[in-house]
């Protein structure tokens, strides 16, 4: 078995397809591309592939990752070329590497992600204003978000129950990226992955709530820059420092 790990982007109209849709797009694409993909066993065999994390609908990403298992050897360059020939516009493999079996799964290694978040503010603001708001926001030691508890379907008690989560430790960095009249772009580095995950929109709504920063609802746009694993205190991408098997 050979596993190929790829970095790809998701932009344009493709941001409007859900994670499940994306899985289907890749399954069909590998079949159209005649890539010798390995299948799961059982009643409903599916190509063996795993994504790093699920990306929310509406989010652009420059750095998504996928592991695809092959049943026969295929070098990573022809893999990339074959797949890119059949992927829809808005999805493109940027880099692929055949990785060693010893590598841990994508999902288990991802711990954080960087984003650019574009906001529209009600008033025209200046660099100093925004930086002040961010400073104020990050000054808090705890920022509480109410998370709805998941319930089994048909649960008798229909009232939603909430639990309090302190999201402050999940925020590694928030900084002003650029500002232009009503448009503000923030750069964020947040926890991501299966252990702890924080969506940029939650940070924005908390920022708004705590600092009185007036932003226009529904106009926030998010772009993911990259996903990272942490190795010896260093943030590196899932394609950095991997054991290659070519």
């Amino acid at each position: 078995m050979i596993t190929i790990r790829s970095r790809f982007y998701k932009k344009g109209d493709m941001v409007f397809i859900s994670h499940l849709d994306l899985v289907r797009v890749f399954e069909r694409a590998v079949r159209r591309a005649n890539i010798p993909v390995a299948y799961t066993q059982g009643f409903n065999p599916r190509p063996i592939m795993a994504f790093a994390t699920a990306l929310g609908v509406g989010v652009v990403s420059e750095g998504e990752y996928i592991d695809i298992q092959l049943s026969e050897k295929l070098d990573s360059n022809s893999f990339t070329e074959k797949l890119n020939n059949v992927l829809p516009e808005g999805l493109k493999i940027i880099k692929s590497l055949a990785i060693s079996n010893k590598e841990q799964s994508l999902m288990s290694i991802i711990s954080s992600s960087t984003y650019l978040v574009k906001l529209q503010t009600k008033d025209i603001l200046f660099k100093e204003n925004i930086e002040g708001y961010i400073k104020e926001f990050l000054h808090y030691e705890s920022i509480i978000e109410l998370k709805e508890k998941k319930k089994k379907p048909h649960h008798k008690n229909r009232k939603p129950e909430f639990r309090e989560v302190n999201i402050r430790p999940l925020i590694k960095e928030v900084e002003l990226f650029c500002i232009d009249n009503h448009e503000v772009i923030l750069k964020m580095h947040l926890a991501a992955g299966s252990e702890a995950n924080l969506k940029p929109d939650i940070v924005i709504s908390k920022l708004k709530e705590i600092t009185n920063l007036e932003i226009v609802e529904d106009k926030t746009r998010v772009q993911r820059l990259d996903l990272f694993k942490e190795e010896n205190g260093e943030y590196i991408t899932p394609l950095d420092k991997v054991d290659i098997m070519e």
Binding site: L20, D21, V25, R28, P45
Partner: protein, 612 residues
């Protein structure tokens, strides 16, 4: 025309992928002013519409013509409609994101009577006058097709052209004529009058309907000389020669039927007396094995789908089914591409074949005995026995299945409580068959799902004269079944028959119902086939307001000599045959299938010149 900006809307709606229009194999053309713009509308949400084979065929057929750009339109979901209204976005076609108001043709497929309000709502969202009489030369031509066109009288006032039957040829004859007249001094009425002369084209506005005092129809008369009194449906004679798409649009969303649909034949040799499709799609015409191999190969490589469904009204009647299935398994099994046979009959159910199919991908098992007793199955001419069902399920349980679905109808003509109890008996016998199967062979956790829909008498069937059971009668039968079908392994589902009442009204309705639909549009009725949107009390108030009694259409028995609203339409099957079959039903007399012996329905006289 410029492209509408809808990106901001897409961030606010559920499932924005419904509105993208850029799926794999979708067609995008550079628009020039001579191009005929065709909006193919499906009056339901994307996931339902994209599952429709006819749309995939006609979309690709039209787009093969250089002079035509055909695009898709689905009913926007409620949230999208709200966003569109808020932002002044008119109904647009997916591929170009341009308003369909400026198109040449706006086509709707009529699959289901309860989508009529969606059609009107879509016209309204598009900004197109809903009544054909209010439309001007520059407005689009509203053209419809599909099974409900054979009685499209309830929506006759809203449409310009109805295409009766298979559209692959006639649609191009219509667009050709349009092209020719558009170049000269185009006049809408002149175009419609000339189009009416094309075989298979019905222009409702060219006919007057007269009524008797008792509310029945006195006659349907052409308004102009030369306009045909009877309009006959069109068929495609050779299915190997006719266009079939070899690249179909592959959606991003998980749609209702998300797979390759291979049409193996049209028509049906069975003569189930409740089945409209079995009559209107006659005669039977098969695609050759060779042609099917070729199409499948191309569809597999152009889509990347993992399932091929062999589509027809009764796939096990395909004369080379075994060869075809073996070929598909040999060719695609190693690529894990599964096969599904959605319309199997119990009698020639080849379990061995199915077992091999299951080795690639497992699917559920569904049987449709339709009625609980042999007597009633003879009445409806279902042509299967209890033994067939028990044998088939026994075999299935022996091969490891443990989940079976059984479909029934309630409210069938002549039905009594004994027939209803028969449904229970049959379900319990299936349960027994499971427990008789050796433990080591059968699968774990038996689940028999019994579904009972409400019978709707349909035009062009031997039951077209029959009344539909009243709601109270249906409720009593449903209640009886609920109390009888209590068993830990049986799940019983039934639909609210209120929608079936509305279905019967519009299936057998006439032009006076247009008023009802107009009021329904004003009252905001839409997605009536969706139980969460359907409002029965509102509908009853609408009938009241329009001064129309739904029971006149749904619950009234008609005499053989009454002129029916669809009598000016000819589907090729003679009325004498339908009467004969109606009498056979009353006498519980079975009619053999077309391959065993010809029942003389008349379709071969007209279309195939002798033999089916």
């Amino acid at each position: 025309m410029h492209k509408l900006q809808i990106d901001d809307l897409l961030y606010n709606v559920e499932k924005p992928a419904r509105y993208l229009g850029n799926e794999l194999n979708s067609v995008h053309k550079i628009v020039d002013e001579n191009m005929i713009r065709f909006a193919f509308c499906f009056p339901d949400v994307y996931e339902v519409g994209m599952s429709h084979l006819g749309m995939q065929i006609l979309y690709n057929l039209l787009n093969r013509q250089e002079s035509i750009f055909c695009e898709r339109v689905f009913t926007p979901a409620i949230d999208m409609e709200e966003e569109m209204n808020k932002n002044n976005i008119p109904l647009f076609a997916l591929e170009s994101r341009q308003p369909i108001r400026n198109f040449d043709f706006v086509g709707f497929t009529l699959q289901y009577e309860l989508s009529y309000t969606n059609i009107l709502n879509m016209l309204k969202l598009a900004g197109i006058p809903i009544y054909s009489g209010d439309r001007k030369d520059e407005d689009p031509i509203i053209i419809v097709g599909g099974p409900c066109v054979y009685n499209c009288e309830p929506i006759a006032d809203f449409i310009d052209i109805a295409v009766l039957g298979e559209a692959e040829e006639v649609i191009l004859e219509i667009t050709d004529l349009y092209n020719k007249l558009k170049k000269g001094n185009y006049n809408r009425l002149e175009f419609l009058k000339q189009a009416a002369l094309i075989e298979g084209v019905y222009i409702p506005s060219l006919y007057d309907v007269n009524y008797n005092e008792d509310g029945t129809i006195n006659g349907v008369i052409p308004k102009f000389e030369g306009i045909p009194k009877i309009i006959r449906k069109r068929i495609i004679e050779n299915l190997d020669d006719v266009f079939y798409p070899e690249e179909i649009i592959v959606p991003y969303l998980n749609i209702v039927h998300d797979r390759i649909m291979m049409e193996v034949f049209r028509g049906c040799i069975r003569g189930c007396r409740f089945c409209q499709a079995g009559i209107i799609y006659r005669p039977v015409r098969e695609k050759s094995f060779d042609r099917l191999q070729e199409i499948t190969k191309n569809l597999v490589s152009s889509t990347g789908y993992d399932e091929i469904s062999l589509a027809s009204l009764s796939t096990s009647d395909y004369s080379q089914l075994e060869d075809l299935v073996r070929h598909l398994i040999d060719e695609y099994g190693s690529k894990k591409i599964g096969i599904s046979l959605p319309s199997l009959r119990l009698d020639n159910f080849s379990l061995q074949l199915i077992e091999e199919i299951q080795k690639v991908r497992k699917t559920g098992l569904t049987f449709a005995p339709e009625a609980g007793s042999q007597r009633l199955r003879d009445v409806i001419n279902k042509g299967i026995t209890e033994e067939d069902l028990i044998n088939a399920t026994e075999n299935a349980f022996n091969s490891g299945w443990s989940s079976v679905k059984l479909y029934f109808m309630i409210g069938l003509p002549t039905e009594t409580d004994t027939d209803i109890i028969g449904i229970k008996d049959l379900a319990f016998k299936v349960v027994d068959a499971y427990y008789k199967t050796p433990k080591e062979q059968r699968g774990k956790g038996l689940n028999v799902t019994v579904s009972a829909s409400t019978f709707v008498p349909k035009p062009f069937t031997p039951f077209q004269w029959e009344p539909q059971s009243t709601l109270d009668e249906i409720y009593a039968k449903q209640k009886l079944l609920v109390s009888e079908l209590k068993h830990k392994n049986i799940t019983f589902n039934y639909h609210d028959s209120k929608t079936s009442l509305l279905e019967a009204v519009f299936a057998k309705g006439d032009r006076r119902l247009s008023k009802v639909l107009e009021i329904a549009l004003e009252e905001g009725c839409k997605f009536d086939g969706w139980i969460e949107h359907f409002n029965f009390d509102k509908w009853m108030a609408i009938f009241d307001k329009a001064n129309i009694d739904p029971a006149f259409y749904a619950n009234r028995r008609r005499e053989y000599d009454e002129i029916l609203p669809w009598d000016h339409i000819d589907v090729g099957v003679s009325k004498q045959f339908l009467i004969r079959e109606s009498e056979n039903a009353k006498n519980e007399k079975v009619t053999a299938n077309c391959r065993t012996s010809c029942a003389g329905c008349g379709v071969n006289q007209i279309f195939t010149g002798g033999i089916c």
